[in-house]
């Protein structure tokens, strides 16, 4: 890949004595949607968190837009990469109004019209600006996840890391959120890295995916290979078989 927007090389992450990510490498092209798949505990979320700088003890190389993630100031980095977390019930401040939650990153970055832009973002993600004056507890899970997406988009990043974005939601709501994410990716030219244990979601959302097991990379496949069953590793085949049932 010539100019990947995200390149991870020989990444290892340790929690004390345990190695939770072991020598993982992958690269994501601009505009691509890349999936990380595996059982819980396989290290896929840890990779996202490490990219975001939420884990300290790691080795290897993480480049975003060709620049080492660690060399960037946190602030500059936040404008390029943002993350959406799994549980929309835990990721929003319960006592901040929705409008404030979305405007906060922009305020931290000293941007003008943070509040006005927050309202625009609420329109963009399909909730409407009236939601600015509500609290998280007044919103359903799907509505909250939309807010989390709006907040992640507030600094206009190019790369969005999505950690199980729909696994806490009803299937009917999942469909709406996945459609929204796809629309946003097209309109805003975003790159996605999506972590999920749901192979159907990844096959629907991602052009390419990496399968992980026990902290290690098992196999990299394209969507076409996944769908045609062109899989090399036994583990991947088992995983696909269990998901197809």
């Amino acid at each position: 890949m010539t100019n990947p927007i995200l390149s991870v090389k020989d990444l290892s992450v340790r929690f004390g004595a345990a190695t939770v990510v072991d020598d993982v490498s992958f690269a994501v092209a601009p505009g691509e949607s890349f999936g990380l798949v595996g059982e819980s505990g396989s290290g896929k979320s840890t990779i996202l968190r490490t990219i975001m700088g939420l884990n300290q003890d790691w080795s290897g190389e993480i480049l975003v837009d060709g620049q080492p993630a660690a060399s960037d100031s946190r602030r500059k980095f936040a404008r390029r990469v943002q993350m959406v977390f799994q549980d929309p019930y835990a990721s929003l401040h319960p006592r901040h109004l929705i409008g404030k939650a979305i405007a906060e990153p922009m305020r931290i970055h000293g941007m003008d019209n943070a509040d006005a832009r927050a309202l625009d973002l609420l329109d963009l993600i399909g909730l409407g600006r009236n939601f600015a004056y509500r609290y998280p507890h007044e919103l359903s899970g799907g509505q909250r996840q939309r807010v989390a997406i709006a907040r992640a988009l507030s600094l206009s990043p190019k790369l969005l890391l999505l950690d199980e974005p729909t696994s806490a939601l009803d299937v009917s709501v999942q469909a709406e959120i996945l459609n929204l994410l796809n629309t946003l990716r097209k309109e805003l030219n975003l790159t996605f890295v999506i972590v999920s244990h749901n192979l159907a979601v990844v096959s629907y959302m991602c052009d390419r995916l990496m399968v992980m097991q026990n902290a290690r990379m098992v196999e990299n496949v394209t969507r076409a290979q996944l769908r045609n069953g062109e899989l090399k590793a036994d583990y991947t085949r088992d995983f696909v078989a269990a998901s197809r049932l």
Partner: protein, 282 residues
């Protein structure tokens, strides 16, 4: 149905609202259950968990529960005293909850929690025997090293293992009816299949009745004999699990259609178009 294990007729559950009124969360649910696997599916807020909990009698005191019939094995649960109902819960009715992280006692070892369940059922049992029963049930749940797991605390166990501990606590008393509320939604697909096959084995071997509450239609249709689909506190459709594809109600069809599949098209997913008429299908 005669000889039904559990019978619910016209169950209504309401919660007080801020303005002094009542919010009807369950609106006239009726079904009877034999020694079979019954699935209840629906979105969050459809009343599926509440219906299961009403049977157990574990709804909060401020909830208003009314029914024409609410019975378990011929026992009228509406007339039963608190003590009688507690006794039923301890022995003949069991419930497995969704998330082992929140449902197990974090400061007790897995073994101690299962032993506690054993000893509540039989207070005269010696602790050596209770431990033996605990190890036996762990083994029957396909845990490879029961002795090791016995001494582990919940935070030292994976989700799948924790879920099996919860199942062990419930089935060690050999209940006649097990209510499993999203027992596998916190688990990975591979572990999910394991846990389901364990449940299936137990239900078949011990001739239990099982109510399986889930939002996952596909999963329920593979696992259960019969499916009840709930929407906004009512049953919209009852299906033979094998005939999920022949579902008639637009809500059931909508739920099925909005699932992405591994081989499915990449066009936008159909979303559920809710029809106000579904609110009063009955």
């Amino acid at each position: 149905m005669t000889g039904a294990l559990a019978e619910i007729r016209n169950l209504r559950i309401a919660f007080p609202t801020e303005n002094g009124g009542w919010h009807q969360a369950v609106r006239g649910v009726s079904f009877s259950l034999g020694r079979e696997k019954l699935g209840i599916v629906g979105e969050s807020g459809s009343g599926k968990s509440l219906s299961g909990r009403a049977l157990l009698g574990v709804l909060p005191d401020y909830a208003r529960v009314e029914a024409d019939v609410l019975s378990f094995d011929g026992i009228d649960l509406l007339r039963a005293s608190r003590g009688e109902r507690r006794k039923l819960r301890g022995s003949r009715l069991g419930m497995v909850l969704q998330d082992p992280k929140f449902s197990l006692n974090p400061v007790m070892t897995a073994g101690a929690q299962i032993m506690e369940a054993v000893r509540i059922g039989n207070r005269r049992i010696s602790s050596a025997e209770a431990k033996k029963a605990t190890l036996a049930i762990l083994e029957s749940l396909h845990i490879r090293d029961p002795e090791l797991v016995f001494d582990r605390y919940p935070h030292e166990l994976s989700g799948g293992m924790g879920q099996r501990i919860m199942i062990a606590m419930m089935v060690v008393r050999e209940p006649d009816l097990l209510i499993a509320d999203e027992p596998t939604s916190a688990l990975d697909v591979t572990v999910q299949m394991q846990v389901l096959s364990i449940l299936d084995e137990l239900v078949t071997r011990r001739q239990m009745g099982l109510i399986f509450i889930s939002h996952d239609l596909q999963l329920v249709s593979r696992f259960c004999d019969r499916i009840i689909v709930m929407y906004a506190g009512q049953i919209v459709e009852t299906l033979n699990a094998k005939e999920l594809g022949a579902a008639q109600h637009p809500y059931t069809k909508g739920l099925l259609a909005c699932l992405p599949t591994i081989d499915g098209p990449l066009s936008p997913l159909p979303t559920l178009q809710r029809d106000a008429a579904w609110m009063d299908t009955l």
